[in-house]
Amino acid sequence: MSIDMSQFLQTFYEESFEGLDVMESELLNLDAGAADTEVVNTIFRAAHSIKGGSATFGLDNVATFTHVLETLLDEMRDGKRQVTPEAVNLLLQSVDCLRGMLSSNRDDEVFDQQNADRLRQQLEALLGAPRVGALEASDAIPIPVAEIAAEAGVPTSATGGWHIIFRPHEHLFLTGNDPVRILRELESLGELVTHVDCSKLPDFSGMDPEKSYLGWEMDLMAAIDRRIVEEVFAWTDGDCDLEITPIQDASQQCPPVEDRRKEDRRAGEDRRKGDRRASASSAADTASIRVGIDKVDSVINLVGELVITQSMLGTLGEGFDMSKIHQLVEGLSQLERNTRELQEQVMQMRMLPISFTFSRIPRMVHDLSQKLGKKVELKLSGEQTELDKTVIEKIGDPLVHLVRNSLDHGLETPQERIAAGKPEVGTLWLSAYHKGGNIIIEVKDDGHGLNADRILAKAVERELVAPDAQLTPEQINELILLPGFSTAQEVSDVSGRGVGMDVVRRNIQSLGGSIEISSQPGAGSTFTVRLPLTLAILDGQSVAVGEEVYIVPLVSIIESIQIKPEMINRVAGKGETFKLRDEYVPIIRLYEIFGANAHATELVDGLLVVVEGDGHKIGLFVDDLLGQQQVVIKSLETNYQRVNGISGATILGNGAVALILDVPSLIRLANHGTTVRQLKLSA
């Protein structure tokens, strides 16, 4: 029976990307010069897994590149090569390169092989450099290779090469190893002369096609280190008989490699029998999601209870009479409880820890702080705070921008900090926690804070505020969220173009969230992002417009008022407005926008729901308020088509469909003066 290997390929890619995340995370934790062996080991194991898996699936470019990476890491974990900042940076670049390779292989796209070749050359150059404890050439006393070998007990290759006897055990194939691939890798090291031994090949009729019966004896003509040859067979440890002897020093053979390996195991140095798969935590993947078995069991349990309740109600329905009304009410109440619990559990399945979003930040802070010449300590907290998978995917870019802004504009250089009496190293806090049904994410720095005077001056210069406007410090801070606003003296490729913060706010608002800024001059700034825990459910205010019901997101509502005639103004070219305290707010008649038959067409006969979006307020004219409720959002785009002014739909308790309003879109619609029907045709 043939097996479709492609189903495993997807898993390989997922695990490899997880492994790369582990490598990156641990590389950032490495202390150059005093590296933790266990950390290096973790990085090595991740690379080792990627190499083996990519070779299994025939991704030769990945396997070959990872092989060099792995050799360097192996020397580092053995203490034979120092962990220098340059080596760490090179390894980080290599991780990026591997990500690109895997992505291009997965998506069948062209990859920049030149960059990979360049990195590989740099890695090989690093491998070619003297190791820790190597003698300077001028200090070296020439010692015959044979003497060194005898003294160390380890044969090394001089100019000849290696004689290799490779006899796989019968079960080798079942471990995923393939001699074709192994010998191909040996060929890449030098000229290889191979002789097969098929003395153990049984009769065709009696053989098991999945067992290995062949062996090979090879001469590898390459002046390379023995470890490089051993590494080729790393995955076959315990699954073959292997002898590697130098061709020139055949007379001084040390004990066969297999015996030496047994000694290594006794000495507790057998690392290759450790984890063969990266044991990283799951990564957020737009194509799939990993769910803990406990969550799945909980859902299965709840479905079971739902079935029982449904069965009970079904039995009750047969021959129902009014004497059983209490049982019916009880049954419906039970059904409601089951459904709510099931809904909560299913929503929990989509919840992922925010660490998936935070994981990008340490690397970015590391690279950016080096680029900007700043010293920064990043402190993370609340990484295990869970939120909806979709929110996690979409909050990443805004968070990255906030962190970049803090690094570029908030935190000072070491010299500036010392001059200000601060520690040389700046601190950036990134934290997340639950509060009141929302998730709060804070980006806080101890930099020089926002310069309120400069912000206000720039806002006046750009006519965003009146010169005599009296603004609170918080209102001044929020000016930086306006489009095109930037007080940066220079535009760097990091930030300063003024196109970031307004996009950040818009992205956060599109998630149903909000952003607040607080700052203290000289002490630092805090950006607080508030997000709903899930995008699938919305807290909404249902409103009636004629016979239609619409849902207004609660997060957008400021207040609801009954309008009085003296509050209404009509402005030529701008339609109707009403005076809300000290500002004039445009009125949007929803029945006009959506072409509904409203019961109230006079403003005084209905209600105004004042909402805010994109920094603008409008008043939505409706017939009546119906109530607040949680609604499940159904995509209109998926089930029908995209409609401007509408962000989705929901099904009410009576089975009717209610459309969920898209407040920012309505504001834009109102400014254009078109109806939804007109725009729908062009959507």
């Binding site: 194939f173 393939d178 010998l183 191909r184 097969v196 009769d203 065709f204 009729s205």
Partner: protein, 117 residues
């Protein structure tokens, strides 16, 4: 049966020449199909049918398959049923050469570039 024409090939000795069993190999010829290939080749041996192995499409193969075909080669020669290769792909031949199995498999030597499989 009356009216039924049967075309048959005959050898010079007058005996009916058995029809060849053609094994068409797909792009990936590896351990995942080894059991299937073993079955087909075994059947051909039992029926004493010469085998034609078409590896023109093969882009990827492994030691398990090559080993299997070596054993079959020996069995076919011993049983004198014979077998032949039809358009062995470069990748297939390169893999066989890598494992030093070209001679055992009786593959043509010419045209092997040592290309990766």
């Amino acid at each position: 049966m009356a009216g039924t024409k049967v075309s048959k090939k005959t050898t010079s000795a007058g005996a009916r020449k058995p029809r060849s069993a053609i094994i068409n190999c797909e792009e990936s010829l590896d351990i995942t199909v080894a059991g299937d290939i073993h079955g087909k080749l075994s059947k051909a041996l039992e029926e004493k049918r010469p085998v034609i192995i078409d590896t023109a499409k093969v882009k990827r193969t492994d030691a398990a398959i090559l080993q299997l075909l070596c054993a079959f080669s020996q069995a076919a020669n011993h049983a004198k049923t014979g077998f032949q290769w039809r358009k062995p792909s470069e990748e297939f031949m390169a893999a066989a050469k890598r494992l030093d199995l070209t001679a055992l498999l009786e593959l043509p030597v010419q045209g092997i570039q040592g290309k990766d499989s």
